[in-house]
Amino acid sequence: MAIERTGLEWDEFDVRTDELVINMGPQHPSTHGVLRVLLRTDGEVVQQAEPHIGYLHRCAEKIGENVSARQWIPYTDRLDYLAAMNMNLGWALTVEKLLGLEVPEKGRHLRVIMAELNRIASHLVAAGTYGLDLGSFTPFMYCFREREKILNLFEEACGARLTYSYITVGGVMADLPAGWTDRCLAFLDQFEPVVDELHALLTSNAIFVRRAAGIGVLAPELAVSYGCSGPVLRASGVDWDLRRDGDPWYTRMYQGYDWDVIVQVNGRYPHDENYPQVPRAAVLGDCWHRFYVRMLEVVQSMRLVRQGIERYRTAAGSVGQPIKLSQKLPKGEVYLETEAPKGQMGFMVIGDDSAVPVRVRARSSSFCNLSVLSELCRGCLVADVPAILGSLDIVLGEIDR
């Protein structure tokens, strides 16, 4: 006990509470994957939260130096395994830019459909597991029920439910089966009321608001300086979406589509009339806003899928042809970033006139999003750490590669 002699003639004893070092993970129900977070707390208040990663490192980038570009597609599946289509897309676009290969129009629209459907699936997992972290078990089930239907659609298209390897360099592996677009539209029609259900169960639930609003506030300057991207960045008020602002080789895919970037402009989100309003306790950049941005992005993705299906049906030509496995990559270096559901996913390829690239690099969005955890957790309570971690929506697969 520290004894301080004050001006008065009696001693003031300050009971020193012990600093408690708590280890969350790597086996823990609410770290999203094998993540270890070292918490130093003073009683209930967290002083420092340090993430330790690397438990899922599988040397994907090194393997990329030993296999050809198309053979590396399955490894991209396993980066952000919840949004494998977007990973495939990022790598395929990078190699296509290096080769100077343009995918025909029909293939581009098909890629939009797949990427946005996978964005919906990924955000459903984020929303469901976030509710689970905070203790509501039922929305998790509802989200996964809807995700099942999306996974069934993907299974029809490419045979896999999680690791698709569908979007490949040069186009897609195969065209859609008959009737797929009708089933997809039917799914979207029945999915719209479920979004309202999720809003009622989570977004506007008083207890959820108390747990998420005002927690883990990320200032926009801090977000930009840490390299955060995706919904984490947009929820802090930074108007940046690569589908609109990125590399032309990527934004060409979304040209002509009518959709909105979900970011708060003048205190309002676009198209939020039908959805719960921002509660008074919520501060821009907190967990509630990150959750809300994802929920609104789901609706925008639905719009994009509908438009994509329309254009796919009316487009002429083929969906593209995968390149030959022995196709040589010219000398050169290309780095291309795409807007994956979790943020900006960048792929770099250095070709050296052979089928196998010299260097492959995946810049993961969750890596930078996770790095801001230690800033956000300072001064919060222990029970808020899963809330903040869940709102960052990380996947260890792409952090550790």
Partner: protein, 208 residues
């Protein structure tokens, strides 16, 4: 075999539990186990109250002593002990002194208890009160507001006046208790440090 006097049987069980666990409190070295034995001992005492037909007092004993004071005690022991499973070592001379003092007190109590003629005779009919016929809490309530229904035969007005109407002192004592608790909480509040605590930056070699 003759009719077993169940009342005496349960009395013996409860009394043995109370005394036995009390001795265990003194003998045991582990602090939390001591607190637990005290819980069982005071629970047995409340059982004795129930046997005597005083269910309100028995319930009070459970609520205040076991559910209140002892919870506080266990909290205090657990949060302030130096480490888990702390033991208390009592020096020999303290043992000797406490045995002498406690033995003296025990002797006085036993002498007093056995010298009351009323309590000496074990009459079954008087000691066994079926629960339906036990005095209700109404007597206590009425005494609090000024009517001692159990001593209506008391003629002396002064004695009658002093025997009842405890509501005001009761309230004063409760408020006093609240003031004491608030004061204790205030005195034990965490004081703000002048600068935030420094934590080591490098912790990659921390092992847990």
């Amino acid at each position: 075999m003759a009719e077993v006097n169940w009342h005496t049987f349960f009395f013996l069980v409860a009394a043995l539990a109370a005394c036995g666990f009390a001795i265990a409190v003194v003998i045991s070295g582990n602090i939390v186990r001591m607190a637990f034995y005290l819980v069982m001992s005071l629970g047995a005492v409340s059982g004795l109250f129930f046997l005597a037909g005083a269910d309100l007092i028995g319930a009070l004993q459970l609520m205040i002593y076991v559910g209140g004071t002892l919870v506080l005690l266990v909290f205090g022991v657990m949060l302030t002990s130096g480490g888990p499973f702390a033991r208390m070592k009592t020096p020999r001379w303290q043992w000797a002194l406490s045995i002498v003092l406690a033995g003296w007190l025990l002797a006085i109590l036993l002498k007093t208890a056995t010298s009351v003629d009323d309590w000496g005779s074990a009459s079954v009919s008087r000691s066994h009160v079926p629960p339906e016929a036990a005095p209700t809490a109404r007597a206590i309530g009425l005494a609090l507001v000024g009517v001692r229904v159990d001593r209506l035969a008391q003629q002396n007005q002064d004695t009658q006046a002093g025997m009842a109407g405890y509501l005001l002192p009761f309230e004063i004592v409760s408020v006093h208790l609240v003031v004491v608790l608030v004061g204790a909480a205030y005195l034990a509040r965490t004081k703000r440090r002048k600068q935030p605590a420094q934590f080591p930056q490098k912790s990659s070699t921390q092992s847990l």
